[in-house]
């Protein structure tokens, strides 16, 4: 493979990341060979048909079973700051990489400091509650108690939406190991949250924070991603999931429910301007911790090349 496939044409500088708010959300790829041809990210079929995918214009690419990706393609995705996630059936996450960690440590240190300070962490959790439900959290509650109150409110919202769209609903129930085991509304919800989690992960990484350091959620590789996704879940993907489940129940669906949910979620992301709101929301949540941002370390080297950071703070520009 020649050097040109690494993303740079002779005479053209390598492509840089663009801000998340300017991108489309996610695309799911199955049964294709992903490679780089002439510097572009392409899916190649067995018969030689090529489809160029505008990788830098997406927040993330979800690779489904049957997708194969080359070294050059992963390198190009990393260079343009696009998250690559390997997913199983229905978009259940298996592994993800392509854009790991942040470009600098100051945001990670700030996030860790807030998470380790009990009072600051509670302030962040209360802020997330207020953003989520549009009212302040009840006074003098611990994080565990707030988690319980949120759970009840979410269950009530699910029941209300199910009733509104005429969906038979018992409870949230899913098995990541057995996709077919869930009923249609639960599968719709799983597909919808998988989209939102993929997008939130891309946003958390692009903003320069660690997915594992959560505040309400903790102890999972994507704790902070779940925290951020929950801020938007009830007003973006959950209504779409129940709407599609309602259409499926009436037999008015021309495609599989999870695919219909994904398409509906993507349009909802654009309609609600989610990609533009999600990184400011992350900053707003963390600012509620009321801890000062760390100063850049004194030994930090000055920028070697002027020209500014491209993309978001977490992108390696």
């Amino acid at each position: 493979m020649s050097g040109t496939s690494q993303g740079g044409l002779p005479g053209l500088p390598p492509p840089k990341p663009i801000p998340l708010k300017d991108r489309a959300s996610l695309v799911f790829v199955e049964h294709a060979r992903l490679d780089v041809l002439d510097g572009a990210f392409v899916a190649v079929n067995a018969d030689g048909t090529r489809t160029q995918i505008p990788v830098g214009g997406l927040a993330g690419i979800m690779l489904e079973p049957g997708a194969r990706i080359s070294h050059a393609a992963v390198a190009l995705a990393a260079r343009v700051g696009t998250l690559i996630t390997w997913v199983g059936e229905g978009g259940v996450r298996l592994y993800s990489a392509g854009q790991p960690g942040g470009a600098r440590a100051d945001r990670l240190l700030w996030q860790a400091k807030i998470a380790l300070d009990d009072a600051a962490r509670l302030r962040v959790v209360r802020k997330m509650y207020a953003m989520r439900f549009g009212e302040d959290a009840p006074q003098r509650r611990s994080i565990d108690q707030l988690r319980g109150i949120e759970g009840v409110r979410v269950r009530e919202s699910y029941a209300l939406l199910a009733q509104q769209y005429g969906v038979g609903w018992s409870r949230r129930k899913y098995d990541p190991k057995d996709w077919e085991a869930g009923d249609v509304p639960n599968r719709c919800l799983s597909a919808a949250t998988a989209c939102l989690h993929g997008l939130s992960e891309a946003a958390v990484l692009a903003a320069g924070y660690a997915p594992a350091i959560g505040f309400l959620h903790s102890g999972k590789p994507l704790s902070f991603v779940y925290d951020i996704a929950d801020l938007f879940k009830l007003d973006t993907v959950v209504p779409e999931a129940f709407r599609i489940a309602g259409q499926a129940a009436k037999g008015r669906l021309e495609m599989s429910p999870d695919r219909a949910v994904r398409l509906a979620c993507r349009d909802a992301f654009r309609r609600t301007g989610l990609l533009g709101r999600i990184i400011p929301a992350i900053e707003e949540v963390l600012s509620a911790g009321e801890l000062p941002r760390p100063e850049p370390p004194v030994e930090a080297m000055p920028v070697a090349f002027e020209g500014g950071q491209s993309g978001d703070a977490g992108h390696r520009g």
Partner: protein
């Protein structure tokens, strides 16, 4: 905002398109019209394209932000890629 690109189109159609759109480069027309006018222009393209081929692209409020239609055969054909409308580039085939 809408863009129409034609190749191998008869001069009659190219003149007709230039009645509403500006020809920025050979066969590339742009304008900004309502959905109804856009459909009328596309119907003119379909009626006049003969053996050529054409594509029309315009802005819509979906995730991708734009939508397009094609007419006639070209090595580049539209394909639905998980709801993202992309383009298949077909290998050269002996006719």
């Amino acid at each position: 905002m809408m863009v129409v690109v034609v190749s191998n189109a008869p001069p009659r159609l190219r003149g007709r398109l230039a009645a509403w759109l500006v020809e920025l480069r050979a066969g590339v027309y742009v304008g900004d019209y309502s959905a109804r006018t856009r459909e009328m222009i596309w119907n003119q393209v379909l009626a006049g394209i003969e053996t050529g081929d054409a594509v029309m692209v315009w802005k819509v409020p979906t995730d991708q932000g734009y939508e397009f239609l094609t007419a006639g055969r070209n090595r580049r054909m539209p394909v639905d890629f998980d709801g993202l409308k992309l383009v298949n580039f077909l290998p050269e085939t002996p006719c």
